[in-house]
Protein backbone atom coordinates (compact mmCIF):
# COMPACT_ATOMS: atom_id res chain seq x y z
CA UNK A 1 0.00 0.00 0.00
CA UNK A 2 1.34 3.40 -0.85
CA UNK A 3 1.61 6.11 1.72
CA UNK A 4 -1.31 8.47 2.00
CA UNK A 5 -0.48 11.47 -0.13
CA UNK A 6 -0.43 15.01 1.07
CA UNK A 7 -3.24 16.76 -0.70
CA UNK A 8 -3.55 20.44 -1.27
CA UNK A 9 -5.92 21.97 1.25
CA UNK A 10 -9.29 23.22 0.10
CA UNK A 11 -8.80 26.51 1.87
CA UNK A 12 -11.51 29.14 2.05
CA UNK A 13 -11.53 32.07 -0.27
CA UNK A 14 -10.00 35.53 -0.11
CA UNK A 15 -8.20 36.72 2.98
CA UNK A 16 -10.36 34.87 5.44
CA UNK A 17 -8.36 33.13 8.09
CA UNK A 18 -8.72 29.46 8.76
CA UNK A 19 -9.70 30.30 12.32
CA UNK A 20 -12.68 32.45 11.36
CA UNK A 21 -13.83 29.77 8.90
CA UNK A 22 -13.56 27.23 11.69
CA UNK A 23 -15.54 29.44 14.05
CA UNK A 24 -18.20 30.10 11.40
CA UNK A 25 -18.66 26.38 10.81
CA UNK A 26 -18.79 25.76 14.56
CA UNK A 27 -21.51 28.40 14.88
CA UNK A 28 -23.38 26.82 11.96
CA UNK A 29 -23.43 23.45 13.70
CA UNK A 30 -24.54 24.89 17.04
CA UNK A 31 -27.26 26.85 15.24
CA UNK A 32 -28.47 23.67 13.56
CA UNK A 33 -28.47 21.87 16.92
CA UNK A 34 -30.54 24.60 18.55
CA UNK A 35 -32.90 25.24 15.62
CA UNK A 36 -33.60 21.51 15.26
CA UNK A 37 -34.64 21.50 18.97
CA UNK A 38 -32.42 18.48 19.54
CA UNK A 39 -30.72 20.47 22.27
CA UNK A 40 -33.79 19.99 24.47
CA UNK A 41 -33.47 16.21 24.21
CA UNK A 42 -30.29 16.53 26.27
CA UNK A 43 -31.15 19.58 28.35
CA UNK A 44 -34.42 18.32 29.82
CA UNK A 45 -32.98 15.01 31.13
CA UNK A 46 -30.13 16.98 32.68
CA UNK A 47 -32.66 19.14 34.53
CA UNK A 48 -34.42 15.96 35.70
CA UNK A 49 -31.12 14.48 36.87
CA UNK A 50 -30.21 17.63 38.78
CA UNK A 51 -33.65 17.90 40.35
CA UNK A 52 -33.33 14.32 41.63
CA UNK A 53 -29.65 14.50 42.62
CA UNK A 54 -30.12 17.68 44.59
CA UNK A 55 -33.64 16.93 45.85
CA UNK A 56 -32.23 17.46 49.33
CA UNK A 57 -29.34 19.80 49.90
CA UNK A 58 -26.03 18.13 50.76
CA UNK A 59 -25.08 18.75 54.40
CA UNK A 60 -22.16 20.98 55.31
CA UNK A 61 -18.84 19.25 54.73
CA UNK A 62 -20.24 17.14 51.87
CA UNK A 63 -19.70 19.76 49.16
CA UNK A 64 -16.94 17.88 47.36
CA UNK A 65 -18.79 14.52 47.14
CA UNK A 66 -22.01 16.22 46.03
CA UNK A 67 -20.35 18.24 43.25
CA UNK A 68 -18.26 15.27 42.12
CA UNK A 69 -21.25 12.92 41.96
CA UNK A 70 -23.19 15.32 39.75
CA UNK A 71 -20.14 15.85 37.52
CA UNK A 72 -19.92 12.09 36.97
CA UNK A 73 -23.63 11.39 36.63
CA UNK A 74 -24.13 14.09 34.00
CA UNK A 75 -21.50 12.55 31.68
CA UNK A 76 -23.82 10.15 29.78
CA UNK A 77 -26.20 13.05 29.11
CA UNK A 78 -23.31 15.15 27.85
CA UNK A 79 -22.24 12.25 25.64
CA UNK A 80 -25.80 12.04 24.33
CA UNK A 81 -25.71 15.77 23.62
CA UNK A 82 -22.41 15.57 21.74
CA UNK A 83 -23.59 12.60 19.72
CA UNK A 84 -26.87 14.33 18.95
CA UNK A 85 -25.16 17.55 17.87
CA UNK A 86 -22.76 15.73 15.56
CA UNK A 87 -25.61 13.67 14.10
CA UNK A 88 -27.79 16.71 13.42
CA UNK A 89 -25.82 17.42 10.27
CA UNK A 90 -26.78 15.12 7.36
CA UNK A 91 -23.88 13.07 6.01
CA UNK A 92 -23.83 14.95 2.70
CA UNK A 93 -23.82 18.30 4.50
CA UNK A 94 -20.76 17.14 6.42
CA UNK A 95 -19.07 16.71 3.04
CA UNK A 96 -20.19 20.15 1.90
CA UNK A 97 -18.96 21.60 5.19
CA UNK A 98 -15.53 20.07 4.64
CA UNK A 99 -15.23 21.67 1.20
CA UNK A 100 -16.55 24.97 2.55
CA UNK A 101 -14.19 25.19 5.51
CA UNK A 102 -11.18 24.10 3.49
CA UNK A 103 -10.08 20.77 4.95
CA UNK A 104 -11.68 17.69 6.47
CA UNK A 105 -9.61 18.09 9.62
CA UNK A 106 -11.17 21.51 10.19
CA UNK A 107 -14.62 20.01 9.68
CA UNK A 108 -13.82 17.35 12.29
CA UNK A 109 -12.42 19.95 14.68
CA UNK A 110 -15.42 22.24 14.27
CA UNK A 111 -17.76 19.42 15.22
CA UNK A 112 -15.77 18.69 18.36
CA UNK A 113 -15.61 22.38 19.25
CA UNK A 114 -19.37 22.77 18.80
CA UNK A 115 -20.10 19.71 20.93
CA UNK A 116 -17.64 20.81 23.62
CA UNK A 117 -19.03 24.35 23.71
CA UNK A 118 -22.57 23.07 24.27
CA UNK A 119 -21.33 20.57 26.85
CA UNK A 120 -19.46 23.30 28.69
CA UNK A 121 -22.73 25.19 28.95
CA UNK A 122 -24.51 22.10 30.28
CA UNK A 123 -21.65 21.41 32.72
CA UNK A 124 -21.82 25.00 33.92
CA UNK A 125 -25.58 24.63 34.52
CA UNK A 126 -24.85 21.45 36.48
CA UNK A 127 -22.20 23.16 38.59
CA UNK A 128 -24.26 26.27 39.30
CA UNK A 129 -27.33 24.18 40.15
CA UNK A 130 -25.22 22.27 42.66
CA UNK A 131 -23.63 25.36 44.13
CA UNK A 132 -26.77 27.39 44.59
CA UNK A 133 -29.54 24.81 44.91
CA UNK A 134 -27.81 21.64 46.06
CA UNK A 135 -25.53 22.56 48.96
CA UNK A 136 -26.17 23.69 52.49
CA UNK A 137 -22.85 25.54 52.68
CA UNK A 138 -20.77 27.12 49.95
CA UNK A 139 -17.58 25.11 49.34
CA UNK A 140 -14.10 26.36 50.12
CA UNK A 141 -12.16 27.94 47.27
CA UNK A 142 -10.00 24.84 46.78
CA UNK A 143 -13.02 22.53 46.63
CA UNK A 144 -14.75 24.96 44.30
CA UNK A 145 -11.82 24.94 41.89
CA UNK A 146 -11.63 21.15 42.06
CA UNK A 147 -15.35 21.07 41.25
CA UNK A 148 -14.84 23.41 38.29
CA UNK A 149 -12.01 21.21 37.01
CA UNK A 150 -14.13 18.05 37.29
CA UNK A 151 -17.05 19.66 35.44
CA UNK A 152 -14.75 20.76 32.60
CA UNK A 153 -13.38 17.21 32.49
CA UNK A 154 -16.96 15.91 32.48
CA UNK A 155 -17.75 18.13 29.46
CA UNK A 156 -14.68 16.81 27.68
CA UNK A 157 -15.47 13.20 28.60
CA UNK A 158 -19.00 13.56 27.30
CA UNK A 159 -17.74 15.15 24.10
CA UNK A 160 -15.27 12.33 23.52
CA UNK A 161 -17.72 9.52 24.26
CA UNK A 162 -20.39 11.19 22.14
CA UNK A 163 -18.02 11.70 19.22
CA UNK A 164 -16.86 8.08 19.30
CA UNK A 165 -20.48 6.91 19.17
CA UNK A 166 -21.69 9.42 16.55
CA UNK A 167 -23.11 8.30 13.22
CA UNK A 168 -19.91 8.93 11.29
CA UNK A 169 -18.19 6.28 13.43
CA UNK A 170 -21.10 3.94 14.29
CA UNK A 171 -23.82 4.17 11.61
CA UNK A 172 -26.19 1.80 13.44
CA UNK A 173 -28.31 3.74 15.99
CA UNK A 174 -28.76 0.63 18.16
CA UNK A 175 -25.05 -0.12 18.34
CA UNK A 176 -24.29 3.53 18.88
CA UNK A 177 -26.61 3.84 21.89
CA UNK A 178 -25.31 0.60 23.39
CA UNK A 179 -21.73 1.74 22.91
CA UNK A 180 -22.49 5.04 24.60
CA UNK A 181 -24.14 3.46 27.65
CA UNK A 182 -21.71 0.56 27.93
CA UNK A 183 -18.77 2.92 27.42
CA UNK A 184 -19.88 5.01 30.39
CA UNK A 185 -20.52 1.91 32.54
CA UNK A 186 -17.14 0.48 31.56
CA UNK A 187 -15.45 3.67 32.71
CA UNK A 188 -17.32 3.48 36.03
CA UNK A 189 -16.58 -0.20 36.65
CA UNK A 190 -12.97 -0.19 35.52
CA UNK A 191 -12.14 2.87 37.56
CA UNK A 192 -13.40 1.09 40.71
CA UNK A 193 -10.57 -1.42 40.39
CA UNK A 194 -6.83 -1.21 40.81
CA UNK A 195 -6.69 -0.75 37.05
CA UNK A 196 -8.43 2.62 37.34
CA UNK A 197 -5.58 4.19 35.40
CA UNK A 198 -6.73 2.30 32.29
CA UNK A 199 -9.64 4.68 31.72
CA UNK A 200 -10.97 8.09 32.68
CA UNK A 201 -11.05 7.36 36.44
CA UNK A 202 -14.61 8.47 37.20
CA UNK A 203 -15.05 6.30 40.27
CA UNK A 204 -11.64 7.40 41.48
CA UNK A 205 -12.91 11.00 41.31
CA UNK A 206 -15.80 10.04 43.58
CA UNK A 207 -13.62 8.00 45.94
CA UNK A 208 -11.23 10.93 46.34
CA UNK A 209 -14.13 13.26 47.05
CA UNK A 210 -15.58 10.85 49.59
CA UNK A 211 -12.29 10.46 51.46
CA UNK A 212 -11.60 14.19 51.54
CA UNK A 213 -8.58 13.97 49.25
CA UNK A 214 -10.11 15.42 46.11
CA UNK A 215 -8.17 18.67 46.20
CA UNK A 216 -4.82 16.93 46.54
CA UNK A 217 -5.65 14.22 43.99
CA UNK A 218 -7.18 16.42 41.31
CA UNK A 219 -3.86 17.15 39.56
CA UNK A 220 -3.05 13.43 39.15
CA UNK A 221 -6.59 12.32 38.36
CA UNK A 222 -7.03 15.29 36.03
CA UNK A 223 -3.83 14.54 34.15
CA UNK A 224 -4.80 10.88 33.83
CA UNK A 225 -8.26 11.82 32.63
CA UNK A 226 -6.85 14.29 30.09
CA UNK A 227 -4.45 11.66 28.77
CA UNK A 228 -7.29 9.22 28.08
CA UNK A 229 -9.50 11.95 26.64
CA UNK A 230 -6.68 13.00 24.34
CA UNK A 231 -6.33 9.36 23.26
CA UNK A 232 -10.08 9.13 22.65
CA UNK A 233 -10.18 12.30 20.59
CA UNK A 234 -7.13 11.19 18.64
CA UNK A 235 -8.87 7.88 17.90
CA UNK A 236 -11.98 9.74 16.72
CA UNK A 237 -9.92 11.98 14.45
CA UNK A 238 -8.05 8.98 13.08
CA UNK A 239 -11.25 7.05 12.41
CA UNK A 240 -12.76 10.03 10.62
CA UNK A 241 -9.93 9.91 8.07
CA UNK A 242 -11.78 7.12 6.30
CA UNK A 243 -15.28 8.13 7.41
CA UNK A 244 -16.01 11.49 5.79
Amino acid sequence: MTAMPPTAPMTPTTSMTALSALMALTAFRIAAYIRSHRIYQALLPIFALLAISYATRAPAGQEAPALTDSAVLVIPFLAWSARSLLDTEPDTQRILSATSVGTRSREVLSGLLAAFAVNLLFAAITLFWGLFLGLTAFPTASVLWAGVALHVLAALTGTTLGALTSRAILPSPAISIMALVLGFLAMLVLSRTALYWLTVPLTAWMKAAGTGTLVTQVPWLGALSLAWLFAGLTLYTWLRRTRP
Binding site: M4, P12, A24, D91, T92
Partner: protein
Protein backbone atom coordinates in the same frame (compact mmCIF):
# COMPACT_ATOMS: atom_id res chain seq x y z
CA UNK B 1 -3.90 18.98 -10.80
CA UNK B 2 -2.82 15.38 -11.19
CA UNK B 3 -4.11 11.95 -10.26
CA UNK B 4 -1.39 9.31 -10.11
CA UNK B 5 -2.24 5.60 -9.85
CA UNK B 6 -5.32 6.40 -7.81
CA UNK B 7 -7.29 3.41 -6.55
CA UNK B 8 -10.13 3.30 -4.08
CA UNK B 9 -11.99 0.58 -2.19
CA UNK B 10 -14.60 1.18 0.48
CA UNK B 11 -13.22 -1.56 2.70
CA UNK B 12 -9.88 -3.24 3.05
CA UNK B 13 -10.84 -6.46 1.26
CA UNK B 14 -13.64 -5.08 -0.90
CA UNK B 15 -13.12 -4.89 -4.66
CA UNK B 16 -11.72 -1.58 -5.84
CA UNK B 17 -14.26 0.90 -7.15
CA UNK B 18 -11.49 2.77 -8.97
CA UNK B 19 -8.27 1.19 -10.22
CA UNK B 20 -5.01 2.86 -11.21
CA UNK B 21 -6.52 6.11 -12.39
CA UNK B 22 -4.02 8.49 -13.97
CA UNK B 23 -5.09 11.91 -15.20
CA UNK B 24 -3.84 15.45 -15.63
CA UNK B 25 -6.19 18.38 -15.31
CA UNK B 26 -5.28 21.87 -16.46
CA UNK B 27 -6.88 25.24 -15.65
CA UNK B 28 -9.82 25.81 -17.96
CA UNK B 29 -10.55 22.12 -18.44
CA UNK B 30 -14.17 21.05 -18.51
CA UNK B 31 -14.52 17.32 -17.96
CA UNK B 32 -17.64 15.27 -18.28
CA UNK B 33 -17.60 11.94 -16.45
CA UNK B 34 -19.96 9.24 -17.65
CA UNK B 35 -20.52 5.67 -16.60
CA UNK B 36 -23.23 3.26 -15.59
CA UNK B 37 -24.89 3.48 -12.20
CA UNK B 38 -22.43 2.31 -9.58
CA UNK B 39 -19.45 2.72 -11.91
CA UNK B 40 -17.75 4.99 -9.40
CA UNK B 41 -18.54 8.44 -10.76
CA UNK B 42 -19.52 9.95 -7.41
CA UNK B 43 -16.55 8.27 -5.75
CA UNK B 44 -14.22 9.76 -8.34
CA UNK B 45 -15.75 13.21 -7.84
CA UNK B 46 -15.29 12.94 -4.07
CA UNK B 47 -11.68 11.91 -4.51
CA UNK B 48 -11.13 14.88 -6.77
CA UNK B 49 -12.77 17.19 -4.24
CA UNK B 50 -10.49 15.90 -1.49
CA UNK B 51 -13.42 14.57 0.54
CA UNK B 52 -12.33 10.95 0.22
CA UNK B 53 -8.74 9.74 0.42
CA UNK B 54 -7.51 7.31 -2.21
CA UNK B 55 -6.66 3.83 -0.97
CA UNK B 56 -3.60 3.94 -3.20
CA UNK B 57 -2.00 6.68 -5.25
CA UNK B 58 -1.95 10.44 -5.01
CA UNK B 59 -3.97 13.49 -5.91
CA UNK B 60 -1.71 16.52 -6.14
CA UNK B 61 -1.91 20.23 -6.96
CA UNK B 62 -5.59 20.52 -6.18
CA UNK B 63 -6.77 24.15 -6.51
CA UNK B 64 -7.11 25.99 -3.21
CA UNK B 65 -10.84 26.63 -3.36
CA UNK B 66 -13.18 23.77 -4.14
CA UNK B 67 -16.89 23.99 -4.84
CA UNK B 68 -18.84 20.75 -4.67
CA UNK B 69 -22.50 20.36 -5.61
CA UNK B 70 -23.90 16.94 -4.67
CA UNK B 71 -26.37 15.02 -6.77
CA UNK B 72 -28.87 15.17 -3.90
CA UNK B 73 -28.74 18.26 -1.74
CA UNK B 74 -29.34 17.44 1.97
CA UNK B 75 -32.61 19.25 2.76
CA UNK B 76 -33.02 17.76 6.24
CA UNK B 77 -31.63 20.86 7.93
CA UNK B 78 -33.44 23.39 10.13
CA UNK B 79 -32.74 26.46 8.02
CA UNK B 80 -34.42 28.57 5.38
CA UNK B 81 -32.60 29.07 2.09
CA UNK B 82 -31.36 32.49 3.21
CA UNK B 83 -30.21 31.25 6.62
CA UNK B 84 -28.38 28.31 5.10
CA UNK B 85 -26.62 30.25 2.36
CA UNK B 86 -25.69 33.04 4.78
CA UNK B 87 -24.03 30.50 7.09
CA UNK B 88 -22.14 28.93 4.18
CA UNK B 89 -21.09 32.36 2.96
CA UNK B 90 -19.64 33.16 6.41
CA UNK B 91 -17.69 29.90 6.37
CA UNK B 92 -16.45 30.72 2.86
CA UNK B 93 -15.30 34.23 3.79
CA UNK B 94 -18.48 36.13 2.92
CA UNK B 95 -18.61 35.86 -0.88
CA UNK B 96 -21.85 37.19 -2.38
CA UNK B 97 -24.42 34.45 -2.88
CA UNK B 98 -27.52 36.47 -3.79
CA UNK B 99 -26.49 37.09 -7.42
CA UNK B 100 -26.16 33.33 -7.86
CA UNK B 101 -29.54 32.76 -6.22
CA UNK B 102 -31.09 35.29 -8.59
CA UNK B 103 -29.42 33.77 -11.62
CA UNK B 104 -30.67 30.30 -10.73
CA UNK B 105 -34.19 31.49 -10.00
CA UNK B 106 -34.25 31.12 -6.23
CA UNK B 107 -35.38 34.65 -5.35
CA UNK B 108 -38.94 33.63 -4.54
CA UNK B 109 -37.80 30.79 -2.29
CA UNK B 110 -35.33 32.55 -0.03
CA UNK B 111 -37.59 32.39 3.02
CA UNK B 112 -38.68 28.81 2.43
CA UNK B 113 -37.33 26.12 4.72
CA UNK B 114 -34.93 23.70 3.05
CA UNK B 115 -37.13 20.75 3.95
CA UNK B 116 -40.03 22.29 2.02
CA UNK B 117 -38.13 22.78 -1.24
CA UNK B 118 -38.85 20.71 -4.32
CA UNK B 119 -36.07 18.45 -5.58
CA UNK B 120 -35.09 20.91 -8.30
CA UNK B 121 -35.09 23.93 -5.99
CA UNK B 122 -33.00 22.08 -3.41
CA UNK B 123 -30.58 21.20 -6.20
CA UNK B 124 -30.27 24.90 -6.99
CA UNK B 125 -29.31 25.63 -3.37
CA UNK B 126 -26.59 23.01 -3.74
CA UNK B 127 -25.36 24.73 -6.88
CA UNK B 128 -25.36 28.19 -5.25
CA UNK B 129 -23.27 27.03 -2.28
CA UNK B 130 -20.76 25.50 -4.68
CA UNK B 131 -20.60 28.48 -7.03
CA UNK B 132 -20.48 31.33 -4.51
CA UNK B 133 -16.71 31.30 -3.76
CA UNK B 134 -15.68 31.27 -7.47
CA UNK B 135 -13.84 27.98 -6.88
CA UNK B 136 -10.72 26.95 -8.71
CA UNK B 137 -12.09 23.43 -8.83
CA UNK B 138 -15.82 23.16 -9.45
CA UNK B 139 -17.29 19.68 -9.07
CA UNK B 140 -20.90 19.10 -10.03
CA UNK B 141 -22.53 15.73 -9.47
CA UNK B 142 -25.42 15.38 -11.94
CA UNK B 143 -25.96 19.15 -12.11
CA UNK B 144 -28.72 19.04 -14.72
CA UNK B 145 -30.91 16.50 -12.92
CA UNK B 146 -34.30 17.85 -11.92
CA UNK B 147 -33.64 21.42 -13.03
CA UNK B 148 -36.20 23.48 -14.90
CA UNK B 149 -35.49 24.47 -18.49
CA UNK B 150 -34.40 28.04 -17.66
CA UNK B 151 -31.82 26.89 -15.14
CA UNK B 152 -30.60 24.12 -17.43
CA UNK B 153 -29.99 26.75 -20.05
CA UNK B 154 -27.97 28.83 -17.56
CA UNK B 155 -25.55 26.11 -16.54
CA UNK B 156 -23.42 25.88 -19.72
CA UNK B 157 -22.85 29.65 -19.58
CA UNK B 158 -21.91 29.42 -15.89
CA UNK B 159 -19.49 26.59 -16.66
CA UNK B 160 -18.01 28.54 -19.55
CA UNK B 161 -17.47 31.56 -17.30
CA UNK B 162 -15.74 29.37 -14.71
CA UNK B 163 -13.51 27.87 -17.39
CA UNK B 164 -12.68 31.33 -18.72
CA UNK B 165 -11.35 32.48 -15.36
CA UNK B 166 -9.17 29.35 -15.19
CA UNK B 167 -11.24 27.01 -13.06
CA UNK B 168 -11.30 23.27 -13.61
CA UNK B 169 -14.87 22.06 -13.98
CA UNK B 170 -15.72 18.38 -13.55
CA UNK B 171 -19.21 17.02 -13.73
CA UNK B 172 -21.04 13.77 -14.04
CA UNK B 173 -23.96 13.97 -16.41
CA UNK B 174 -26.59 11.66 -17.79
CA UNK B 175 -28.60 14.46 -19.34
CA UNK B 176 -26.41 15.56 -22.23
CA UNK B 177 -26.42 19.05 -20.78
CA UNK B 178 -22.99 19.93 -22.17
CA UNK B 179 -23.64 18.81 -25.72
CA UNK B 180 -23.35 22.38 -27.00
CA UNK B 181 -20.18 23.22 -25.10
CA UNK B 182 -16.94 23.06 -27.10
CA UNK B 183 -13.73 21.28 -26.08
CA UNK B 184 -15.21 19.19 -23.31
CA UNK B 185 -13.04 16.31 -22.18
CA UNK B 186 -14.94 13.05 -21.85
CA UNK B 187 -14.04 10.52 -19.19
CA UNK B 188 -15.82 7.21 -18.97
CA UNK B 189 -15.66 4.80 -16.08
CA UNK B 190 -16.02 1.09 -16.65
CA UNK B 191 -14.95 -1.69 -14.32
CA UNK B 192 -13.13 0.81 -12.16
CA UNK B 193 -10.95 2.00 -15.03
CA UNK B 194 -10.98 5.51 -16.41
CA UNK B 195 -10.81 6.03 -20.15
CA UNK B 196 -10.65 9.35 -21.93
CA UNK B 197 -12.08 9.86 -25.37
CA UNK B 198 -11.10 12.69 -27.68
CA UNK B 199 -12.54 16.04 -26.63
CA UNK B 200 -15.24 17.64 -28.69
CA UNK B 201 -13.32 20.25 -30.69
CA UNK B 202 -16.21 22.53 -31.47
CA UNK B 203 -19.83 23.10 -30.73
CA UNK B 204 -20.65 22.71 -34.40
CA UNK B 205 -22.00 19.23 -35.05
CA UNK B 206 -20.06 17.22 -37.59
CA UNK B 207 -23.19 15.89 -39.33
CA UNK B 208 -26.37 17.59 -40.40
CA UNK B 209 -28.02 20.00 -37.94
CA UNK B 210 -30.03 18.35 -35.20
CA UNK B 211 -32.88 19.38 -32.95
CA UNK B 212 -34.19 18.04 -29.66
CA UNK B 213 -37.81 16.89 -29.72
CA UNK B 214 -39.77 16.07 -26.58
CA UNK B 215 -42.34 13.32 -26.97
CA UNK B 216 -44.83 12.26 -24.30
CA UNK B 217 -45.61 8.54 -24.27
CA UNK B 218 -47.44 6.31 -21.78
CA UNK B 219 -45.08 5.13 -19.07
CA UNK B 220 -45.64 1.50 -20.01
CA UNK B 221 -44.43 2.14 -23.58
CA UNK B 222 -41.25 4.06 -22.78
CA UNK B 223 -38.81 1.20 -23.23
CA UNK B 224 -40.38 0.01 -26.46
CA UNK B 225 -40.48 3.57 -27.80
CA UNK B 226 -36.82 4.21 -26.98
CA UNK B 227 -35.85 0.92 -28.59
CA UNK B 228 -37.70 1.79 -31.79
CA UNK B 229 -36.09 5.22 -31.95
CA UNK B 230 -32.61 3.82 -31.41
CA UNK B 231 -33.18 1.15 -34.03
CA UNK B 232 -34.17 3.94 -36.39
CA UNK B 233 -30.79 5.60 -35.76
CA UNK B 234 -31.82 8.39 -33.39
CA UNK B 235 -30.26 9.24 -30.03
CA UNK B 236 -33.05 8.68 -27.55
CA UNK B 237 -33.13 8.73 -23.76
CA UNK B 238 -35.73 8.99 -21.05
CA UNK B 239 -36.05 12.45 -19.49
CA UNK B 240 -35.65 12.81 -15.74
CA UNK B 241 -38.73 13.58 -13.70
CA UNK B 242 -39.45 17.30 -13.78
CA UNK B 243 -37.35 17.80 -16.86
CA UNK B 244 -39.05 18.87 -20.10
Amino acid sequence: MRLSNVSFAYRRRAPAVLRDVDADLAPGDVIEVVGANGAGKSTLLRLLAGITRPTHGTVTDRPRVVGFAPDRFPVDQPFTVTQYLTHISRIRGNPAWRPWATRLGLDDLLDVRLAELSKGSAHKVGLVQALMPDPGLLILDEPFAGLDADTRAQLPAIITAARTRGAIVILSDHQGGLDDLPSVRHWSLHGGHLKESAPSATSEPSGPPTKVVHVTVPATEVDAFLTRMRQAGYEAQEAEEGQP
